[in-house]
Symmetry: C2
Subunit: 360 residues, 2 copies
């Protein structure tokens, strides 16, 4: 009946022959199923623990997400990863823009992977949240390292505050370690307070400098010099070689003015040329010496314990804030209170008291 009716229509066509299926229908079914379903946290975790970069990236996207559902999934993944974490060496790298951090990390990372290490590079850059463009988002950075199967590069998480960014980076360390990366390099932009955050999550803190540039220009404050376990003068190549050597000696003298470190380690200065791949090996040897010395005198574990205590408090405080600001009642009322402040109709103290009562 139906067929007959169709034939009666002006635009109807004769039913042609059946086309062969272009794909094995079973395979198509499987592909569709995989495509339509986002992987479960269990799938992500299993893949991550097996060292799968795609799943590691997915897990990182979960923890960086602002959606409560994703954050919950992120927390589940972290929990599953915790027993497999903590087995890496964590290295902080800082230095002002222009000092050659990415070139250095590329050279350094390639050296490490050539020595059968797996290297993850993370960045702490709270400013990227504001400019909506991370320095690592620049695709020309670390061109070679990014293709290395034993390297994993992830730009800075964005967030409203350094605390939020730091929290996500700490979680990212755990995930990368669980994925089998045994060396984690954490880069920071060298301006502002992110150095302290990176220092609080790494075993070794490396400050990159240039010869010749005044410290006003390099924007390095005393506190950052004090945190450094090594100062490496980069771009020690060509005509710059002599100046770099002089700068090295100068910084060496400056470092001796600081009180001895709790680690028992005397900070060292080195020169290198990341561009010409010179002196990078010495930097790694120095870090190895540091790790060996501080493991022997037990400072390594002591520092990790202190960092863990600090992370505990930071995690608590970040969660308290998140829970408060994500509360829908608070969200709505906060907007109103901010408007009242703008109109000079309430004080910050009164507004805070009002909002805090909402949550109780």
């Amino acid at each position: 009946m139906a067929e007959k009716q169709e034939h009666n229509k002006a635009l109807s066509e004769k039913k042609g022959i059946d086309q062969p299926t272009r794909l094995n229908p079973l395979a198509a079914e499987r592909l569709k199923k995989n495509r339509s379903k986002t992987p479960s946290t269990q799938q992500i975790t299993e893949g991550l623990l097996a060292g799968n970069k795609t799943q590691l990236s997915r897990a990182l996207t979960r923890i960086e997400s602002t959606a409560e559902k994703h954050q919950q999934e992120g927390r589940e993944i972290i929990e599953a990863c915790l027993p497999h974490a903590n087995k890496s060496i964590r290295i902080g790298v800082t230095g002002v823009p222009g000092v050659g951090k990415s070139t250095f990390i590329e050279s350094f990372g390639k050296l490490l992977t050539s020595k059968e290490n797996k290297v993850a590079v993370l960045t702490v850059d709270p400013s990227s949240s504001l400019s909506k463009g991370s320095i690592l988002g620049d695709k020309t950075r670390m061109e070679e390292l990014v293709k290395d199967p034993n390297a994993f590069i992830r730009p800075s998480a964005s967030g409203d505050s350094l605390g939020g960014v730091a929290q996500k980076t700490r979680e990212a360390i755990i995930l990368c370690e669980a994925a089998g990366y045994n060396i984690i390099v954490i880069e920071t932009v060298g301006v502002g307070q992110s150095e302290t955050a990176v220092h609080s999550m790494t075993d070794f803190f490396l400050l990159l400098k240039l010869a010749g540039a005044g410290d006003e220009l390099q924007g390095i404050k005393r506190g950052i010099m004090e945190m450094a376990d090594a100062i490496v003068i980069n771009k020690a190549d060509g005509e710059n070689r002599k100046a770099a050597k002089m700068a090295k000696n100068e910084f060496n003298r400056a470092l001796h003015l600081y009180p001895p470190k709790e680690s028992g380690w005397t900070p060292k200065t080195l020169t290198c040329s990341a561009l010409e791949n010179e002196g990078i090996d010495d930097v790694w040897k120095l870090i190895e010496a540091y790790i060996s010395e501080t493991k022997k005198n037990q400072y390594f574990q002591h520092k990790r314990t202190e960092q863990n205590k600090f992370w505990l408090l930071q995690t608590i405080e970040n969660t308290l804030k998140r829970d408060f600001y994500n509360n829908p009642k608070v969200k709505k009322a906060l907007e109103v209170q901010l408007k009242l402040i703008e109109a000079n109709k309430t004080s910050p103290f009164e507004a805070a008291a009002y909002l805090l009562k909402l949550k109780k």
Copy 2:
């Protein structure tokens, strides 16, 4: 009977004549009553609003106290003071130790009180919590200003964190303003991150410098230069005068390299000798010019509004933390969790999750 028995004792004495009372009994009664009763929050508030320094000090002690009862009283006092606050000029002063901050503030404060202002000097020094000794605790500081009836000097509140110290300082500003101080000078130690906190609570930010000392030594990072509305080269006296003038020109050039400020104000450089009381008047004239200019272009009120929004969030976050850590269950469990972290038996993330559940 009793008297007779006494006479029988070997060491007894004859009952002598009655001694006259040494004090008017009514007055004694009144004194005792006053001594035994700590003043009520109402009494403190009334005294404070009348400009009584003792009551102002008492109010500050309430907000600095860690006892929940005192904090509650402190909040009541603040609430009562709010309608009387916000009517001062708030000036931040920074510079590394040795630059002469206290000598400067003493000269500057005396100048201001001679011009019929009431000046309150507060300090933000988070390190004082650690060393348990504030720089302002040193009694030889500001010897003359401290005796000035129109000046009020209060050392830094102590606290576990810069956030806590900053919060208490912001509250102290409100109390001092309500007590009639129309100029609030907030000093910071010039090392670390307290400058940012002070910048976020002041209208004008003044950076003290010395001629001749390198910036590495002066420990001033670029960010602090950027915050400054004026750079004042102190100790421009005797043989130092010429070097100070050169430094002034140099900083002037450096300041011109920074992008224009949102305030529309071009930061100025000056020289002064706090010790010889030279050039202090010019500093005040500069600040007056700034206030007048930014009030005209409405940046003054805009900045205060932005600061108030920031204070709102800070107050909320500090309160969330305080409420959490003051919870008796949390307090007890936190100690246990910290010990587990020390023994490497839990991770900061697991411990945080456990503690956060307790509060719910």
